[in-house]
Symmetry: C3
Subunit: 207 residues, 3 copies
């Protein structure tokens, strides 16, 4: 049985993840001096790019952003006020909070991607790949649109690697017949903590 509180926790994490990714789109858009509509498009592509690619590959419909129109509309409204919003967030939210939100996004999108792919009868290695793709692809589109080498590819700090290991942890928990909600929470928490630890201990991958 799934506890209602856990479901609520998942919904909140999901919203956090989407807005964290959208805000990272706003920030990138500002450094490129994009206008309001460009900002909206980059933010939407960042927030929903990974999940949409996953659904296209798995032939799942409807897309998340079709079912939950509210997120689209909220990001649209936020785009109109993005400059003001960024000023506010840079005052209210420290760099660290954004980092945490982004890490939650990475964790949640990766784990849900793995879980959904496995439900669609994909073998485990493929499911993990789909999860990592779903987690990182939004940021890849954002950077390609803004004409940069994707951060995930050039950052020497483990990013996709955290997602990769976390997805395998999820696979392990699922194999051990853990309740899905607990597995999702534990694996997401692992990715979050692993990502934060790379900053704390200044971990860098070899080139």
């Amino acid at each position: 049985m799934i506890h209602p509180r856990l479901t609520l926790a998942l919904t909140i994490m999901e919203a956090l993840a989407i807005f964290a990714y959208a805000i990272s789109g706003f920030i990138e858009a500002r450094t490129r001096r994009l206008d309001a509509v460009g900002t909206f498009l980059v933010a939407v592509a960042t927030a929903f790019g990974g999940g949409t690619l996953r659904d296209v590959l798995l032939e799942r419909r409807p897309f998340y952003w079709v079912e939950h129109q509210g997120y689209l509309i909220a990001i649209f409204v936020m785009s109109l006020f993005a400059p003001t919003l960024l000023k506010m967030t840079s005052r209210l939210l420290s760099e660290r909070v954004l980092l945490v939100a982004d890490a939650i996004g990475l964790g949640l999108f990766s784990i849900s991607g793995t879980s959904i792919a496995h439900d669609a009868q994909m073998p485990w290695f493929t499911s993990v790949m789909m999860g990592v793709l779903a987690g990182v692809f939004g940021g890849v589109i954002r950077d390609v649109l803004c004409n940069e080498v994707p951060l995930i590819l050039r950052d020497s700090r483990p990013y996709a690697t955290c997602a990769f290991v976390g997805c395998w942890l999820y696979v392990l928990l699922d194999y051990m017949n853990f309740d899905t909600v607990y597995s999702v929470l534990i694996a997401t928490a692992f990715i979050l903590l692993a990502r934060l630890a790379t900053f704390r201990f200044n971990v860098r991958l070899p080139h």
Copy 2:
């Protein structure tokens, strides 16, 4: 009842839109000094990219360029003569004519995208998003392939914004039970005129 003359008008506008987008691909390809095949690929991606993305998202088949092979073949032949063609067009067609053709393309692809998405049971906000995507995505691929920040994102002149407003106008007309062909023509004309007005009155979006 749809008047045969209106259908003819739509077919002509469609052909105009495809060729206008293809020619913008040729121009971009020339500034990057691409060869004939590269030019063909960029032109095809520009002309059909938006519609193909729309159809992948909506799971519609066959693609437009599969059903109307003639356009592909025509663009292929044009690619072989692109340098000559561009010299001819730069003599025969002024910058302004190209701008008008591109604006017709933007209008027609956006409105038809909105209409098709709504027919596929998408809610209105999503349909408008799909329409704007279908209208602008060809240009985005063109610019990504040629390694530039997409024009639509960096141009401070309203582009996606014109499409966005025009799509909502179409939604309004449809809601008021206008004949579809009239709605399409009116909304496309609106986008065309709005886009041209931004040049006439030098409208710029705030950064």
Copy 3:
């Protein structure tokens, strides 16, 4: 009847093609100084990008890399040792061997793309387009991810052009009722030889 030896030949060529494309991803990743996971993602995108796009456009499932997980795992393991591997290959394999492998990949992916598209009832011109796309798209993604104008677009040496002509040769052989395996081998060999001939005779396309 298909000769078992020919089937074996095809399987070997396929493996060669995938690894050749993956290695070209490794090389590009090294010049961009990507880490191990970035290298893996670029290599996988290069090796399977073309076939995946083809399958998305044709609505074919499962994807090649889903059915043949082994390739994914092999590329993953190779990514961990990519720097060492590249040093080894640069000693064992000359530039020329890589070029041949890449040309085999181009040939095989293009011809199998054309064949698969035609089996899915696409008309011939469209099938050839799909084939060329499947052959070159992996390299396009690789270059877009690494923030370069795709090689195939800026290289003045015929690349897509070789694939294009070879695909039409395949169409001709198929039309003449040749056995499929022979047609595939002959057309692939044609693309391979045509590509190598462009280097031998220093052929360049006009700009």
